[in-house]
Symmetry: C3
Subunit: 310 residues, 3 copies
């Protein structure tokens, strides 16, 4: 059916073939993203960046992606300067935004906000994170990084580490890995385990998922270590947080037993989860992952707005 | 004398012929505003969007309008990040801004700020709202919506409902309706009646104005119902506010007795003044009104910056 | 060695010949800056404006400068909406930014931040102010204004007035004046004298520097009076501040004894340091200085991004 004019609210809105198409397009976008080639595909198109919650990384990468292809953006970067403060409903706000731009990128603190926006808007809506909900373009760039490293998304062994309960990027990623037939190993403190319903959906999709308490055991034969941020607020006290954060901290010692080709990913920003000493190792792929944000979002914008990607 | 290089501080700065010219240009801009035609008229022009008070709707529509015609914007969206915080005078700030762009759109909390800015700036200044003062481009898009619906701005019967005291959009609109010879019916709670001096100006201009307590009576034969937001702060207590807001709430019941061609307008954002059930009726013109913000502002920018509109 | 790809962290990173080249390029940029000529040199280049501290004037002039040459910007204008709030290190943030744009303009509250950013980024970093540290582009526009007025930067007598201790613009300017062989007279309250180490660096560079308590004596034969803002926080109480601010206030009376060609500069925003009555005199060059911000930054961006300036 093609991606032109489509809303992208959840990674599950995309078929495996569509994800393949997006990732292939993203690879072709890399020289444009790096400024080595000049893009024109989105000239005269206007993208509304509606960030009702701060997210510099996501906002700037969409902005860059649009402009690298000749497009323009209008931006709400600060929730405080919004009509929402005056009591306007999200529906009314979105109706306005869809009169201004050719597509809307929405970041919102409330789960379900993007889905609601899509029903109201007559322009495509891209979900850039809705509370505890979905963040599909983050998953696309996670996948793009793995595919660049291994040439495939099938048959990989991926360790998911940290906050698997509240970390929305991990839920989306798990669904995608199931779709491509990769194996997952879950490592998390007891209070941050993957929610039951996500686990059931994965089982239902025939995903290969196991849990493992010990990180060093999980890392055996692993291809990817996907680290998430654990938030202080999830723990009873500072001491408990420090103890657990420390026991899951990824450093060169932890990685000593890993395969030489193992890559470490992180949606960033990181705080203490990955020691800076890892940055200089061949395992560190999280900065590459961050830089793929631009070509992946270029591919998505181009396919949604024009139906094709250069 | 033409609009090129002109300041637009109050709707009263514009002659009837100039408003006609602007509205005709706005109609021609619609295909460009909707992205169906590609505009170049403002390439290489830079518009300064100086919003010292948040107003997402106004700011984004100016930004879109400028960019739809190939122009560029530089933006102050957040009053907190401004030199004004460091104690700079508005005059000094405006002198700086006029060195950066080809025109300035100014939103400011203080009445009279735009007029002051215009005296200091050697670039055109467009008032995008100055406190309890003026908001002329809102009036232009109100007029554009009426004209699109009725083909004329003369001989209409327009009901102005709600906060007629502090609602600056209503004052500007009333002046324009007087200019075009339309009739006004004022409906408001006693504490929010049109200020005496505005009423006197209207009388002096020969406007046909009457007051009416009952909304359903005012609606007889009315062509336009212009609804404004009533702010909680204007009332003694929550109970009084709720009672009055409820008695002026526009729903399908209230509209049952109206002419089939009556249109409901609202400068938005709305909170409780118009029931969502009205959205689906042919009376609801407020979303159309919001979307005309872009072509109207395109017309204004084009005429002020280049003296003509495509 | 050319300026292409260079970081500009401190004015001392630039040789005298490079400053000359920049100022000559800035002069050629003036018609482009004023919108009389159309620039294309930076088409398809993206500049990251990373302002982790508010600075409207600096941010907008960089934004305008980039866009006047056809370039594009992506912007962090509000420190609150940044990943830094989530505990990310500056290094990680800068690595991300350097994946998004072709150069980074950084404003940061911490001294040394820009130098650190430059070591991490693989794109050029321009320091737009780092706490009590450096602000080299401000110095370039200070110099551009003097050179426009006198045709040279050598052999001038420049009075530096006000907060010479914390005012970073003054430290950078003093180094540059030493480089070009102009003479400096320092006038400040005792608690705001030039720091010893800056004074020693100047002496070491062979600069002609003297101190003078009385402003009117310092002004004898002076070509330039460079005024800085004194901040209330630097003084014990309001009374002391008021007394000292008053004794250093520049008004037409103070200027009566000055040479007719003396120009008054100020990095702006000003509060009480210069009386508004000075604005109308031929001495007032601070608005011209502010407007040169655009062509100076155009020249810098063009030389750094492309190695040449139109």
């Amino acid at each position: 059916m093609g991606l032109k004019g489509r809303d992208v609210i959840s990674i599950r809105d995309l078929a495996r073939e569509e994800i393949d198409e997006l990732l292939a397009a993203a690879r072709r976008m890399i020289p444009y993203a790096e400024g080595r080639k000049r893009g024109h595909a989105l000239e005269d198109q206007i993208l509304v960046l509606a960030f009702f919650e701060p997210s510099t990384r996501t906002r700037l990468s969409f902005d860059t992606a649009m402009q690298r292809l000749g497009g323009r953006c209008v931006t709400i970067a600060d929730p405080g300067s919004s009509s929402i403060r005056k009591g306007e409903s999200l529906s009314d706000t979105v109706r306005m935004l869809s009169a201004y731009g050719d597509a809307i990128v929405l970041r919102h603190p409330n789960e379900g906000a993007a889905r609601l926006a899509a029903t109201v808007s007559d322009r495509p809506v891209i979900n850039a994170g809705d509370g505890a909900g979905q963040h599909p373009t983050q998953t696309l760039l996670d996948l793009a990084t793995m595919q660049e490293a291994f040439g495939t998304l099938s048959g990989l062994k991926v360790v998911l580490l940290g906050d698997l309960r509240f970390g929305r990027t991990v839920h989306s990623l798990a669904h995608a890995l199931a779709l491509f037939g990769s194996q997952m190993v879950l490592v998390s403190p007891p209070q941050l385990r993957l929610p039951e319903e996500v686990r059931e959906q994965l089982d239902h999709a025939g995903a290969k998922v196991e849990e493992e308490e010990q990180l060093h055991r999980a890392l055996r034969d692993a291809d990817v270590l996907y680290v998430t941020r654990m938030q202080r607020e999830r723990f009873g006290d500072d001491l408990e947080f420090a103890r657990i954060a420390d026991s899951y901290r990824v450093d060169t010692n932890v990685l000593a037993a890993a395969k030489s080709r193992l890559i470490v990913l992180h949606p960033l920003p990181r705080t203490v989860e990955i020691a800076p000493e890892v940055d200089g190792t061949p395992h560190a792929a999280y900065f590459r992952q961050a830089s793929l944000a631009v070509p992946v979002r270029m591919a998505l914008l181009s396919l949604i707005l024009t139906g094709k990607a250069p």
